[in-house]
Symmetry: C2
Subunit: 193 residues, 2 copies
DNA sequence: TGAGTTATGGACTAATTGGTTCCGAAGCTA
DNA sequence: TAGCTTCGGAACCAATTAGTCCATAACTCA
């Protein structure tokens, strides 16, 4: 028995994610967010408390969307070879760049920025990265070339792949020549083969 | 025939580098810089024009210092195996973290941040990263395991190593568990062997 | 048709941002 | 000593920052 919200919070969070994805946490100003989300200050603060709380919601949304999609790919039984899954993941990241998406990975950008000085944000970011790492590790289980690896070694390789992924997506933001990104991906393929 | 500068600009730039290294370009405020450099607004603007110009000087200084040190290591004939040089480079990055230096790499942080929207900054950053890439490539020339590689393939592996490096140093900033960083480095060693 | 409740939009605030412009004093050279 | 420049420091500036407040609009339920 009150005035209903005139917007869908989930849609608003998704729009906010686009803004943060492009500009990063500190690079996204309130006007940027208001503009991208199509609402006014009053509504935003009523619905999302403050910028940081909104960002935490956005991070959760990003994990549901992008991170889970990555993990789904890495654990997709429809692609029998784990190495192929991993390579597809990297290839997709490269394709995003050539398709004009230079935003990289929201998590990776956050990891590099000052927002990591915030404990709550840091916790969510590291959790997301860990999920990816576990995805890589899971994929390696389905890779004949890595069957002999001990659990510890397999996790270690997964950690390396995560660093590779963070590096690739960070460089994607950095207007690095496409060729270098392509080479990275190609070499990952060679390494896994 | 005028009053000489009471501070050494090179020292001031080095101090500014520490501030930018810790906080990043946009994270470093004027008061932060003034404080870290031990000068007042008037002196800073007289000597360095503005924040961005100072940052460009700092980037150049960082390249002379950190990037050149890395390239020197990667091309050090005293370490006969190129793979060893590369692994030492990664090990050093890991050691920095366990020694309490969580600042990562100034270049990598800049690459992830909004300062990359500035053309001049972007140019210097990509140039620095390219120098590292060339260093990796040079080291691979001295690696028996990579002797059979064509020039193109060797460059591709170097690009992968650069992405690995950027990822590692980005994650170093991100309070990722030390073990994951250590695993990454260990796996790089296994991959190169 | 009210009463109650919540959302909206925009004005407003306080702090901070990078940057400028004074100043008198100090330090150098010719 | 005259002329020049830099010094420290504060005052100042316009723009931008995140965040608050409140009158009003819009809804539900009795």
């Amino acid at each position: 028995m009150a005035r209903p919200r005139s917007f869908d919070t989930d849609v608003a969070i998704d729009k906010a994610m686009q803004v943060f994805w492009t500009h990063g946490y500190e690079g996204a100003s309130l006007p940027d967010l208001l503009d991208g989300m199509g609402l006014t200050r009053g509504s935003l603060y009523k619905a999302f408390t403050d910028k940081k709380t909104l960002f935490l919601k956005v991070l959760a949304h990003y994990e549901e969307l992008a991170v889970n999609a990555g993990v789904a790919l890495l654990t997709d039984p429809a692609i029998p070879s784990g190495a192929d899954r991993i390579l597809t993941m990297f290839t997709n990241s490269y394709k995003a760049v050539t398709d004009g998406d230079q935003r990289g990975c929201l998590l990776c950008t956050a990891a590099a920025g000052p927002s990591m000085y915030d404990d709550e944000i840091a916790a969510v970011v590291t959790q997301g990265l860990s999920a990816l790492r576990d995805g890589f590790s899971h994929a390696l289980l389905a890779s004949p070339q890595h069957e002999g690896l001990s659990d510890a070694d397999r996790h270690a390789v997964a950690d390396m792949l995560l660093a590779q992924y963070v590096g690739l997506r960070t460089m994607a933001r950095a207007r690095i020549p496409d060729e270098m990104l392509h080479n990275s991906v190609r070499s990952v393929g060679l390494m896994l083969a």
